[in-house]
Structure formats: C-alpha cells, structure tokens
C-alpha cells in the first residue's frame, strides 16, 4: 500500500473523530510548546549572561587580598595588601597580561552647579578602559604618567546626562567631595549590564589622584587585569600569583590573594542557569511524555473500536504490516500535528514573554528540530504497541467482533 494512500486513510480516520483527535493533539501541543518555551528561556538567559560578561570584558581577571577565616567569620586579611609596586611589577614582567589597572573607589556626590549625581569615583589607570571594554567618545583619556595625581576625570554618559543636561562637558569642572575635577573626556555608552548596575554611571580619575587627594592611602583593594586572549586566563592567573608571591618572598602553601577570572564567573553563572533550564526542560519533557501516553491510550481505543474493520481489511488482502502502518501513520500524524502546532505556540509564547515581561528569550533552531524529531519518535513509540496489536489480530476473530 502506498504511503500516500496510508496517509489518506489515517487522515480520514482522524477526521472521523475530530474531538478525540483534537484532544490527543492538544496533549502533544502543550508538551512541545512547553519544551520550546523553556529551552528558549534557558537559552535566552545564557546568551544574555554571555553578552553582559563580554561587555564587562571577557578576559578580565580581578585580584583581591585573601580572606582569613577566623572562628568561622571571613574577614579581610590585614597582613597582605596590594600596592602600586605590584601593578608595576605585573605590567613589566607578565607575558600573558595585556593590561593591568588598580581599582580604588570613593563614594560621594558629584556636583556641577545645581545638578548632582550620587556616582562612585573610581581611581584607575588607563589600561582599565580596554580591560572593561570602555571607549572614549569625546576628548581624551588621562595618561598614567603625565596625569599622575592631577585633578582630571573621564565620565560616562549617565553622568553627562545628570550633570550636564545642556551637553558639552569637556573642559568643565565637577566637584567631588569639594575637590574640583576637570572633565577631559567622555565614554561611549555601554548600557546597563552585568547584574543591573549602570555601566555609564561612572567617573574615572587617575588612581594616584584618589590615593593622594581622596583616600590618603597607598593600599589597593582590587586590581583588574586582562589576559592576552580567551583561554589564557589560567596561565595569566598563575603568572600574576607568581609575581605577587615572588615580590613578597611568599613560601606559605596558601595564596596571599584571591583571583577571579571572568571565565570562572561565566562558568559559575551559566552552570546555575543551565541547571535551571535543564530542570525546566525535563518537566516540559515529562508533559510531552504524558501527551505520548495520551496518544497510546487513544490508539488502543481506536484499535479496539475498529476490530471489525481490521478483520475486513485482512479478509480482503491486507497484510499485518499494512494494518500496522495504517495505525502507526495515525499516531505519527497526531504527534507531528501536535509538534507543528506546539512549535508555533512555543515560539509565539516565547515572543510574548519577551515583549510583555521583558525577559531574554531565544528560540534555538536546535530545539525546534529536536522537538520535531522527538514528536515523530513519540508517535512511533506510543503508536507501535497498539498498531502491532492491530496487525496481529486474527481475521476470523476480528470479523466476529461486535
């Protein structure tokens, strides 16, 4: 019997029981739509995390003093501190490091005339821009040597908007904790990122300026660096640690500093989000499985109901496999129909969630293809047993069935 004829017979049988077919299809639709939407959600959050991390600077490495654990309380070690000489040593000796910059923050209010903004002042070196993927929009970046300790700053677009609503901030002065800082450059907008903070709400000033004029300390809380490329984070970390230990003649087995790499952070965050999306996908998969059981159930009913028809078809020459394929086609049509509608619904649901709840959603082509394949497999798997039962009926018994 040709496949086309089988499809016709199957469609006819399905149309004969519209409500029943609709309900079986619905079971699959819900399962597939759930899988598509859940995978889209997981994929969306993964992509969004990755984008934010890249915006932050995908090869970034952060070095901080280690914490001692005393009586279960973590506290910052007072014995080992980072200092300017560490920065210079890393810059001069490290081969896997592209840029290095301290990060010294000062809290306060930035004031220009009647406008003010509660922006943190960050003391950095020029390398910080490339480490964090900032770019200059107008003016210039300060220089580590010539602008050492000078009262200049470079500001982000949020600060421009808040303090200079009329625009053109270059050459104007911001007062921060009563110290005037001349704006010599502005940064290109970077948008909100990482974990919701505004990357454009920044005021950068040379770290020596912060040391000398704001915090009166030579201790550096954090050092930012970036490796020369993706995959070098581990080598770069080892190298930095080696340099820092060597400078201190460090012999203890524990490390004096903590080092975070962007790669590690991405892994930590994505592994969490992967876990969540895996759980959601499994739940959705279970609903698809339940839909499959629905198909199996209805196929059993269908086979029983049509026992006499099966007997007749066999009497007039249908082979077992003709009958088998007839019923198998029915279940596959149900599941594929459910698959197509479910995929469409899943994509639509993803788009709606994206627009209404502003969540990152990304429907992956893979999930669509896999869903479709799984539907086909579901139809075959759950249709197989009832179809086989039908194909093994005895024509005499089947014809006698009332």
């Amino acid at each position: 019997m040709s496949p086309l004829t089988l499809i016709k017979i199957a469609l006819k049988a399905l149309l004969r029981n519209r409500m029943r077919t609709f309900l079986s299809v619905l079971g699959i639709v819900i399962g597939v739509a759930a899988v598509i939407a859940m995978v889209a959600m997981g994929e969306g959050s993964r992509i969004s995390i990755k984008e934010q991390m890249t915006a932050m600077g995908s090869n970034a490495i952060i070095i901080m003093p280690n914490r001692d654990r005393r009586g279960g309380v973590q506290q910052e070690s007072t014995s080992e501190l980072l200092e300017e000489a560490d920065i210079i040593a890393i810059r001069e000796n490290a081969t896997y490091i592209d840029g290095v910059s301290p990060m010294m923050t000062v809290g306060g209010q930035a004031i220009v005339g009647n406008n003010n903004s509660p922006t943190t002042l960050s003391g950095i070196s020029a390398d910080y821009l490339k480490i964090r993927n900032y770019e200059i929009e107008d003016g210039v970046m300060f220089d580590d040597v010539t602008d050492r300790m000078s009262k200049v700053c470079v500001i982000g677009q949020t600060v421009v908007k808040n303090l200079f609503p009329e625009g053109d901030p270059i050459g104007k002065t911001i007062r921060y904790r009563n110290i005037p800082l001349k704006v010599i450059g502005t940064l290109k907008a970077k948008g909100s990122g990482d974990f919701g903070q505004d990357n454009d709400d920044v005021i950068f000033t040379p770290y020596q300026t912060v040391m000398k004029r704001f915090s009166a300390t030579t201790n550096i809380r954090q050092i930012f660096a970036n490796s020369i490329g993706e995959g070098y984070a581990e080598k770069a970390t080892e190298e930095i640690m080696g340099i820092l230990k060597e400078r201190r003649g460090w012999t203890k087995p524990t490390d004096p500093f903590r080092v975070f790499t962007q790669e590690e952070m991405i892994q930590t965050i994505t592994s969490t989000s992967d876990m969540i999306s895996l759980v959601l996908t499994i739940i959705a998969g279970i609903s698809l499985f339940v839909g499959g059981i629905g198909i199996m159930n209805i196929m059993y009913v269908s086979v029983t109901e049509r026992t006499k028809e099966i007997g007749l078809r066999m009497a007039i020459g249908a082979r077992g496999k003709d009958i088998m394929f007839q019923f198998l086609f029915e279940s596959v049509i149900i599941s594929l129909l459910g698959g197509v509608i479910g995929i469409a619904l899943g994509i639509a649901a993803s788009e709606i969630v994206k627009i209404v709840f502003n969540m990152p959603m990304s429907v992956s082509v893979t999930s669509v293809i896999v869903s479709f394949a799984v539907c086909f497999a579901t139809g075959v798997f759950f249709g197989w047993y009832p179809a086989r039962k039908a194909s093994r009926l005895d024509p005499i018994e089947a014809l006698r069935f009332e």
């Binding site: 019997m1 009497a315 020459g317 082979r319």
Partner: protein, 249 residues
C-alpha cells in the same frame, strides 16, 4: 479440466482447554471453474470452519488445500493475505462495509492492497464492478444511505473488483428478506453465467436450489455432494413472489 480448488482429507481441530473439538474430520472435494456450489449444513456442522479454510483465513490441522494450482497449507500469514488479495472475493452475511465511506471507496478497498493497480485503474474497475451489480447510480452514497440489499450488492461488487478465481459467500442472504434474497441470488446467478466460480455457504434449502451443486456437511464430515439437475432461476422465483405490501420498503 483442472479443479480451481481442491481439498483433500481436510481436518481442523480446535483446542478448547483440555478438550479438542474436531470441527472437520477429513473432508475432500473439488470445485471446477464456472461452478456455483452451495455448502449447506446446520450450525456446528463445520461449514463456517470450511469457509474460513477455503478463504485462506484459517489453516487446516491436516490435509491438503490446493487453490488455483497452489498449495496453501504451509503458507505464512503474509502469503495467505496475498492470496486473499489476488484470488479470493468475500461476501459476508453482515455486508461489512466501512461506515462513512462511499460505495465506490468500499469497492476500491481490496485494490488498495494490491500495489500493481494504479489509482485510475482502481477507480475504473470499481465503477465496472458497481455496474455489474446495478449500482452505478449510487456510487457516492454512504452505506447508511443504502438499503440492506443495496449494501450487499456493494459488498458483491467489492468481492468482484479484484477479479478473483472464486467468490466465497458466507450466508450472504442471511440478513435479508425473501424478496431481497432472491434479488441477490439473481446477481449471483448472473455472475455465474458470466463464468464466475462461486462457493456459497447457507443453511436455507431454497437458496441452495439456485445453485448447480450442493455439498452438505454434518458433524465435520461430508454427508452429501449432489449435482442439482433442476436449477431454479432466481429471476423467475422473484417474479413468482407475491407483490410487496404497501408498507414494505
């Protein structure tokens, strides 16, 4: 002339728990091309079992069954299905038409299981078969829009469509009133005149008078196998019936 169908010492036992029921205890006969044979017997005589074996839906426990020159005793399910598809035509007591399926689609059904027949050829042969039973005007009617006699005629057309070597009828008039039964017998006689070989199982003696030969089974054995010298004409018998009363049909 070689027989179209030949059975030799056919036995068929059924195991019912500990007991063995001997439905057929060694029956032999031949049917030749162009014969119209009725197989008679009371219920329990083995005539249904005989028909199932002749129809290749059941296999004998022992004995030989040669259909159109081919031994069938050792064949597997699929091979038997192929024989049913190519060589046999069935007419059942309860018509067994597919519901919500038009007359012509019902007639086309056996050809669907024969991949060598194209869709166009299928359609053409179905129309031809429906013409032979006088239903060319009802091709697109559904079974529930047809009378019992018309439904049985569709079933006969379905049995003809694959041009079988023999038509097997199982109490084909059992669900019909006398007038309609005779109408159906007219069709069978006409088909027989055109050369079709027919084996017709019935328990009604008047039906048997329309055939040329009657085989009678009793308790699984062949009791009588007689040529009917005085074959009745179904058309004449039909016309001799009193006219139907007003409220009928």
């Amino acid at each position: 002339m070689n027989p179209i169908l030949s059975i030799q010492n056919i036995r068929r036992d059924f195991k019912m728990g500990d007991e063995t029921v001997h439905a057929l205890r060694g029956v032999s006969f031949d049917i030749y091309p162009g014969e119209f044979v009725t197989i008679m017997g009371t219920s329990g005589s083995g005539k249904s079992t005989m028909l199932n074996i002749l129809g290749c839906m059941d296999k004998p426990t022992s004995g030989e069954y040669i259909l159109d020159g081919q031994h069938t005793e050792k064949l597997k399910r699929d091979a038997l299905a192929k024989i049913r598809s190519k060589k046999l035509g069935f007419v059942f007591q309860s018509y067994n038409l597919l519901s919500r399926t038009t007359a012509i689609e019902n007639v086309e059904l056996p050809l669907l299981y024969n991949s060598s027949v194209s869709a166009a050829e299928r359609h053409r042969r179905a129309i031809e078969a429906l013409k032979m039973v006088g239903l060319e005007g009802r091709m697109n009617h559904l079974p529930n829009q047809l009378s019992g006699g018309q439904q049985q005629r569709v079933a006969i057309a379905r049995a003809l469509v694959n041009d079988p070597v023999i038509i097997l009828a199982d109490e084909a008039t059992g669900n019909l009133d006398t007038r309609t039964s005779y109408e159906i017998m007219m069709i069978f006689q006409e088909l027989n005149r055109q050369g079709k070989t027919i084996a017709f199982v019935t328990h009604e003696p008047d039906i048997a008078t329309f055939s040329g030969r009657t085989i009678t089974l009793r308790d699984g054995l062949l009791k009588k196998d007689v040529k009917n010298e005085n074959v009745q004409d179904a058309k004449a018998a039909f016309e001799a019936l009193p006219p139907p009363e007003e409220f009928e049909e």
